[in-house]
């Protein structure tokens, strides 16, 4: 009746249980809060069923923030274990538990923080920057978000019911086969990624079409803000790469459930095929994560230098070059699997080539500052941190693309230091910069500058303390994912330093939380009444903060790049045009409901409760048909309503 699910499936490990319980408590607190203030209706109407990309973007950011916090706690636990688990002491975590933690850390950070940042920022910024009122497929957007949220939920459920995979965030078979890992952990990992991955693909299609079809009159491709260009390249990668992930995981689950042999070592299966396929997705994935961050920094450097972005055309070509190259470098993740020398050399050289356009971008950012007026506000600090960390990370990346060098650093902590340099230094710093930069646009007040600076310095110093020692540890022969090592290795001082670094980062996080709380408290002092708090350049600053739900009362028309800046410079007012009725989508809870069915389906697949999986799948299908047969999905905002709203502002 309940498949593998029984009473003994509930976690009894005190640490995991504690984590699970605190998650449940937080959820209960939120629910009782809603009951107490009778905000259920408000939540449902304004948020859960909303198709407004600004609101979906905020929800993405909220989920991302929660998952970032969880991922950071994982990191603290790992480093704490490694700081003490030396020689005769085996630390406070059992091997299996430690392994679940690093697997969950990786999956959380890539799929729910990285991707959350990407789609959160896209939702918030793209429609505003291209002068659109909405996205191309509002329902798909909502569905994509809710699938993402369900994936995140599934990962957290594994804390309480069952266990998570302990086979690493990319779980190579045969370790992830039924033979070596019969538990539900690997299935949790598969279905978490599967649900979130489908969500990403759906959202990706929506935004690609949005950019291509919904730009305001006059905005040709080469007049788009560079952030939109970065997202366009990112979305192309998503659409080509994510189906590979879905198919690969599907084959792995067929191996596990039906005893097939795609990736088994015997019966003609081939684990090396999995490694190739997963990286054919995995390498583009890292550019998927970094591209929006590139875009955010491009906007920020130009705005805070009060100057045009240097070499716009060159920047676009650099993005295009990286997009193309990123699909022919995947093998550099496994030079050590034993391909021939020529194959290794080819992939090594292709990988190095990516350094050229990336370096070009870096120099163009630097020269954007030259002969500008650089305001060193918090977003700019994040940029400077990014510039140094990402350059170091990029250099060690090129170093590892030399196959003969990679043999000596592959899978060591050197690699860990490398990709944290580019992912923390690039993706996360980019997100924090963008968050500070665009926060006033969506909430109507600026964030506290002083606390933001404190947060930056703790993150920056913590980052260096946490990851520079890892470069050295890697060269000392420390491999990744060790829960214990010998005294004689001499690694302990560096591991301790790394643990201190993580603690410094956590202080940075505390300052960020404090920054938000204090900023909300003092919001009256930092109100943004103009809609343009930073002397911005692009269309999003031309509307009010926060923007009305239809973004622009009158569709903007542009003739050049940085239209808002030019308008401010020339001082000419656009001739007042007449309002027209605005066509908007109606809210619908269907995205939420279908994702709910996906949750039932994937949860029962994990526990092999097949009748319930059938119910979930059927439910999703029926709801989808109901939604697709519904013609009453849109409405018009009339001119008088627009006038009312605009006059109130």
């Amino acid at each position: 009746m309940f498949g593998k699910l029984g009473l003994d499936s509930f976690t009894r490990n005190p640490i995991e249980f504690g984590a699970g319980i605190s998650m449940v408590m937080a959820a209960l607190a939120a629910i009782s809060f809603l009951f107490y203030f009778k905000r259920w209706k408000w939540l449902g109407k304004e948020w859960l069923t909303s198709l407004d990309p600004k609101k979906i973007g905020v929800m993405y950011v909220v989920v991302t923030a929660i998952m970032l916090f969880k991922g950071l706690i994982d990191a603290v636990m790992m480093r704490a274990q490694q700081a003490v688990s030396v020689g005769d002491s085996y630390g406070y975590l059992a091997s299996d538990h430690f392994q679940q933690i690093f697997s969950a850390h990786g999956a959380t950070m890539i799929f729910f923080v990285g991707m959350g940042v990407v789609f959160g920022m896209m939702n918030l910024i793209i429609p505003l920057q291209i002068g659109a009122r909405d996205v191309a497929f509002p329902f798909l957007n909502s569905l994509g978000f809710w699938l993402f949220a369900v994936g995140a939920l599934l990962l957290n459920i594994s804390l309480i019911i069952g266990e998570f995979s302990g086979a690493g965030w990319l779980g190579y078979p045969p370790l992830t086969s039924m033979e070596y890992n019969p538990g539900v952990g690997v299935d949790y990992w598969i279905w978490t990624l599967q649900v979130a991955g489908v969500g990403s693909l759906i959202s990706g299609i929506n935004f690609l079409v949005t950019i291509l079809k919904m730009r305001c009159p006059g905005m040709t491709l080469m007049k788009m803000p560079i952030f939109v260009w970065s997202c366009l390249c990112c979305l192309i990668l998503i659409i080509f790469a994510f189906p590979i992930l879905t198919a690969t995981l599907a084959m792995l689950s067929l191996d596990r459930f039906l005893g097939m042999h795609f990736f088994s070592a015997s019966f003609g299966g081939n684990p090396m095929m999995f490694v190739n396929l997963i990286w054919a997705w995995g390498h583009p994935e890292v550019y998927i994560l970094i591209f929006p961050a590139f875009g955010i920094f491009s906007e920020i450097v130009a705005t805070f230098s009060r100057k045009y972005l240097f070499g716009y055309v060159s920047m676009v070509w650099a993005l295009a070059a990286i997009t193309a190259l990123s699909f022919i470098v995947w093998l550099h993740h496994f030079f050590t699997m034993g391909s021939g020398a020529s194959v290794n050399a080819f992939f090594g050289i292709m990988t190095m080539l990516i350094a050229v356009p990336t370096g070009v971008k870096m120099f163009n950012w630097i020269f954007t500052m030259v002969r500008g007026k650089v305001y060193l506000a918090t977003p700019m600090l994040w940029f400077l941190g990014f510039a140094s960390n990402f350059t170091i990370g990029g250099m060690t990346g090129v170093l590892m693309s030399v196959p003969a060098v990679d043999f000596q650093v592959h899978n060591s902590l050197f690699l860990i230091a490398h990709f944290h340099s580019v992912i923390i230094g690039g993706v996360l710093f980019g997100f924090f910069a963008g968050f500070t930069y665009w926060f006033p646009k969506f909430f109507g007040f600026k964030l506290n500058e002083k606390l933001g600076r404190y947060a930056f310095w703790y993150w920056m110093i913590g980052f260096l303390a946490a990851f520079m020692p890892l470069y050295v540890l890697g060269l000392m022969g420390a491999t990744r994912r060790l829960d214990h090592y010998d005294h004689a290795s001499g690694w302990q001082p560096l591991y301790v330093l790394a643990a201190v670094g993580v603690l410094l980062i956590m202080i940075g996080v505390a300052f960020q939380v404090l920054q938000i709380i204090i900023s909300i408290r003092d919001r009256k002092k930092n109100l943004d009444t103009t809609g343009d708090p930073w002397d911005g350049r692009t269309l999003e600053w031309s509307t009010t903060s926060p923007p009305p739900f239809y973004n622009f009362a009158i569709t903007p028309e542009v003739n050049e790049r940085d239209p808002f800046w030019i308008k401010k410079q020339s001082g000419r007012e656009q001739a007042k045009k007449e309002y027209k009725d605005i066509h908007m989508p109606k809210n619908t809870p269907m995205g939420l409901f279908i994702a709910g069915c996906a949750l039932i389906f994937s949860f029962s697949m994990i526990w092999q409760i097949f009748w319930l999986a059938g119910v979930g799948a059927l439910g999703a299908l029926v709801l989808l048909i109901i939604h697709l047969s519904d013609d009453d999905t849109d409405y018009y905002v009339t001119v008088s309503e627009i006038e009312q709203i605009e006059n109130r502002i």
Partner: protein, 286 residues
């Protein structure tokens, strides 16, 4: 400079000092930078040279970032401000061109060294190489000497200045065979035979491990690689031959059982074809 900036700079500098002291203290322990064999030496040199070449671009990039951010700060009245200067063909040529030239230089190095240091390529040496077959198990390393007719667990000994021909497979999840001071690393996979050719320049004791995560006992999956003189090696082989333990298909089954933090063990090899059987097991219907 503001007070907080000074403070942060102070912290950064002291951090760098702490790191520098630790590294200096332990510099002899940085295995990859202290090679004890020809292959590891060449790999180390390549690592150092590539880093130096890349610094040609990396150092200016980082220095320019901070210099320009400081020079063109908004309250610097003396700095020029030209908000419409957004392009320069010359500048673009420089930063598309120079990195490209550097990458071309590195690419030539990559092509040459990938072939020269191909782990599958036997080493040129007048000395007759020694064959060692390696099997990754859950969670220990089995070394089989088919010619000396012995086998060991988590310990491998060989004569100095003699080419080592490792043939590697796995009867467990994927692992990676790595002796940092002798040179790196190749995957161990079930049903596959990968090869690694190394050499030790002098007697010494080196750490070896698995670099690819393989499950619960992964952290304990390390071994000692000992290079000795020829005479010591021969003496060691004959001492192992006196071992009461035999390794054949039956005792291998015992070894195959998952176990963690295994001690060294020594066997007399009574089944020559064991290594091939372990590989072929995955090729035939069970």
């Amino acid at each position: 400079m503001k007070k907080t900036h000074k403070f942060a700079l102070f912290i950064l500098l002291s951090l760098a000092c702490v790191l520098a002291v630790i590294i200096f203290w332990d510099s002899s322990r940085i295995d990859v930078l202290n090679p004890k064999g020809l292959i590891a030496l060449k790999q180390r040199n390549l690592l150092v040279i590539s880093t130096l070449i890349m610094l040609i671009v990396v150092v200016p990039a980082i220095v320019f970032t901070f210099v320009f951010a400081w020079k063109y700060r908004s309250d610097n009245e003396k700095a020029k401000y030209t908000p419409n200067w957004e392009n320069s063909i010359l500048a673009e040529c420089i930063w598309w061109g120079i990195p490209f030239i550097i990458i071309v230089v590195l690419s030539v190095m990559v092509w040459k060294t990938s072939h020269e240091l191909d782990p599958f390529k036997p080493l040129d040496s007048p000395t007759k190489p020694i064959r060692i077959q390696v099997v990754a198990l859950q969670w220990k390393w089995l070394f089989i000497y088919p010619e000396e007719k012995i086998a060991t667990v988590n310990f491998v000994q060989f004569p100095e200045k003699t080419p080592l021909n490792f043939e590697i497979t796995s009867d467990a999840p994927m692992n990676s065979f790595w002796i940092p001071q002798l040179g790196g690393q190749i995957y161990a996979m079930s049903g596959m035979r990968t090869k690694l050719h190394l050499i030790a320049d002098a007697p010494g004791i080196f750490n070896g491990c698995s670099a690819n995560f393989s499950g619960t006992g992964f952290a304990g999956m390390k071994f000692i690689a000992k290079a000795s003189t020829e005479a010591d090696f021969d003496a060691w082989v004959s001492s192992v031959k006196k071992s009461p333990n035999h390794l054949d298909a039956k005792s291998y089954k015992q070894l195959l059982k998952p176990s963690i933090n295994n001690k060294e063990a020594f066997y007399l090899l009574s089944d020559d074809g064991l290594f091939d059987q372990i590989i072929m097991k995955y090729m035939t219907p069970m």
